[in-house]
């Protein structure tokens, strides 16, 4: 028996070794193969003389855009526009693959090896994590205009038709009997913007007294009956389960709910002030250098700032940053007082540390005796 077992263990070990070796072999083979195939494109992009060569010689290229949930429709439209533009400009065919999910989850996927050429996420914090891991070079946030956020959004209130509880502004959320729906800031990027919007309002109306702001938030969360894990989940709770009187939501999510589920059911209420939510974009330096896609990836993000890119963003309910397009869609995006993260909170690292990490302000709101 013992002899047999030993033999078994040995065989198992030997099999494991071979499996490991073949896996490595395959891996390196694939790597050299892929780098060989992209070499012409890389050389073409690097050497200016090669750019003069006939357009047809450029090999088709594929980009992966790793994004968060509510940008699906936006990028479906934008990708079509960009590949048409790029082919016209350079003669190179580009196909863009999209990946959507919770912002943090997506960032972790890239961290664990998903080869994204560009990331377009909900929070700077999630891109900072990629920088810390060495996938993105330092200073990514100043690489493109407006803190690398080509479009912005804000946090608004979605209420039931006719606004039966008379909710106009942040303090109305604390009235007796008002139920507020917002996802959990520990698991949702959107929920962090909600929380910070309320905090910013409270600071402004209490002479920047942090203790009072914390009291405001603590009171606010006693009005929250359910904490969903993500923004879409919270929308479902409010819209389909009929729970709560007001949903704190991204402006674009609020518009989508109203348009898809009927203008006769919900109203959008703009509070007197809110936060300017800046969903940032970045090229994943390590991946584009390896794949030789830097040029097209960079152009992909830059084109978001063009008139066409900005219009697509506006059509999908994201606030444009280009003045001419801003003017054109003025009626769609009411002008309310908006403060930025930098105005009130500093960097994402500091904000996350203070408010949302374990033992931070959000935890103190819930844990008694702290």
């Amino acid at each position: 028996m013992r002899k047999g077992l030993k033999k078994g263990l040995l065989t198992g070990f030997a099999l494991l070794l071979t499996a490991g070796l073949t896996a490595c072999g395959n891996n390196s083979g694939a790597e050299s193969g892929s780098s060989a195939s992209t070499e012409p494109a890389a050389a073409g992009s690097a050497a200016p003389s090669a750019a003069a060569s006939p357009a047809q010689s450029k090999e088709p290229v594929e980009l992966l855009n790793v994004s968060y949930d509510p940008t699906r429709e936006l990028y479906e439209n934008y990708n079509k526009a960009f590949s048409a533009y790029w082919e016209k400009e350079t003669g190179q065919k580009v196909t863009i693959k999209q990946s959507h999910g919770g912002s943090g989850k997506q960032s972790r996927a890239v961290l664990d090896g998903l080869e994204a050429d560009v990331v377009t996420l909900a929070l700077g914090y999630d891109i900072d994590a990629l920088q810390t891991a060495g996938l993105i070079n330092e200073g990514w946030q100043s690489k493109y205009e407006h803190n690398s956020s080509p479009y912005t959004s804000t946090i608004v209130f979605l209420v039931r038709k006719g606004n039966p509880k008379g909710i106009k502004d942040w303090p109305d959320l604390l009235k007796d009997g008002v139920e507020v729906i917002t996802p959990n800031p520990k698991t949702s990027g959107g929920a962090r913007w909600n929380y910070l919007a309320a905090w910013g309002y409270a600071l402004d109306h209490n002479n920047n007294d942090e203790a009072k702001a914390q009291e405001f938030l603590k009171n606010l969360f006693t009005h929250v009956p359910v904490l969903d894990t993500g923004a879409r989940g919270a929308t479902t709770t409010f819209v389909e389960r009929g729970i709560g009187d007001v949903l704190l939501a991204w402006e674009n999510e609020a518009y989508l709910s109203v348009n898809e589920l009927g203008k006769d059911k919900f109203d959008i209420v703009y509070p007197s002030e809110s936060i300017l939510a800046e969903p940032p974009v970045a090229v994943v330096d390590k991946v584009v250098d390896k794949k030789g896609t830097r040029e097209v990836a960079d152009a992909y993000l830059k084109y978001l700032y063009s008139e066409e890119g900005q219009k697509i963003a506006a059509e999908n309910y994201y606030r444009p940053t280009l003045d001419s397009v801003k003017e054109e869609y003025k009626s769609k995006f009411p002008d309310i007082k908006l403060f930025t993260l930098a105005d009130k909170f500093g960097t994402w690292q500091e904000t996350q540390q203070k408010h949302f990490n374990d033992g931070g302000v959000f935890d103190q709101i819930y844990v008694p005796g702290k």
């Binding site: 033999k7 030997a14 943090g104 389960r241 374990d358 844990v367």
Partner: protein
């Protein structure tokens, strides 16, 4: 000598060494290496950090929620599963095969789908929830809702472990007991129950262990309120959201440990009852 003779006895599968080798290989790739990787992830963790994570009031509260709801669900599943298995084995009725196949559906269904549909049914304006709420019974977004979701995903474990044992039970023994004058309750207690306790315990343990780790179906119906309806797997997710891999691993390791101890105890209990009934 006789032992080695046993091992080399020609079985259906060729070569003990080779088959054992393959078993070890697959077990390594699918179970052992991932678990080792989990341990490896926690190497960034000092004991002090582990302890502060493990004793954080929110983490403790989530363990309490996870353990009590999983235990309650497994208990109910034990009783309900026995009844279901009994009906399926001992009676004939139209649609029995369909009924039998339905039992396995919770295995196949993505748990998130289960969570979403249960929430839709049991929330205040759902079909069932709207009937229960006037009676003062809130299901969705309470521990009761979590228990319900865990009952749903746990029920096949009990039915499928009890069913084959029931099928193997000879009816002769019951008939013999009846002819000797035993009443139905006495037959159940003295003849059936001793045979059924081991599979029931297994079913309970499996449902319980599954319930502790369940995430998908629960996050929708629990409401995720800190200190009240927040389950431990959700805290793992929220630690990952902070890129705190070590902290997430700490919570996960503790969960694994609890489940493992639980399975071990039940295994021992099972052996003991098995011996006692012989």
């Amino acid at each position: 000598m006789s032992v080695s003779a046993k091992a080399t006895r020609r079985g259906v599968l060729p070569g003990f060494g080779l088959t054992m080798g393959y078993s070890i290989l697959y077990l390594s790739l699918v179970v052992l290496i991932p678990l080792a990787a989990l341990l490896f992830n926690s190497t960034g963790l000092t004991f002090a950090k582990f302890w502060s994570v493990a004793t954080d009031p929110r983490v403790l509260a989530s363990y309490r929620v996870s353990l009590t709801t999983a235990a309650a669900a497994a208990l109910v599943d034990g009783l309900l599963g026995l009844l279901l298995a009994w009906v399926l084995v001992r009676y004939r009725f139209p649609g029995k095969r369909i009924f039998d196949a339905l039992i396995d559906l919770p295995f196949a269904l993505p748990t998130a789908v289960a969570g979403v549909s249960l929430t839709a049914l049991y929330s205040g304006n759902g079909w069932i929830g709207s009937l229960l709420e006037p009676l003062g019974i809130k299901v969705a977004f309470t521990p009761l809702g979590i228990t319900l979701a865990l009952m749903f995903i746990g029920i096949p474990f009990v039915v499928r472990t009890v069913q084959p044992v029931l099928e193997d039970l000879e009816r002769d023994t019951e008939e013999a007991a009846a002819t000797l004058g035993a009443g139905r309750w006495r037959i159940f207690r003295k003849v059936l129950l001793p045979e059924l306790i081991p599979p029931l315990l297994t079913g309970f343990a499996l449902a319980f262990a599954r319930g502790i780790g369940e995430y998908g179906s629960v996050v929708f119906i629990s409401g995720n309120m800190p200190m009240r309806t927040e389950i431990a797997p959700l805290l793992i997710m929220s630690k990952l959201e902070q890129y705190d891999y070590a902290g997430a691993t700490a919570v996960a390791l503790l969960l694994l440990l609890i489940s493992f101890l639980m399975l071990l105890v039940i295994n021992m209990l099972q052996r003991w009852t098995h011996k006692a009934s012989r």
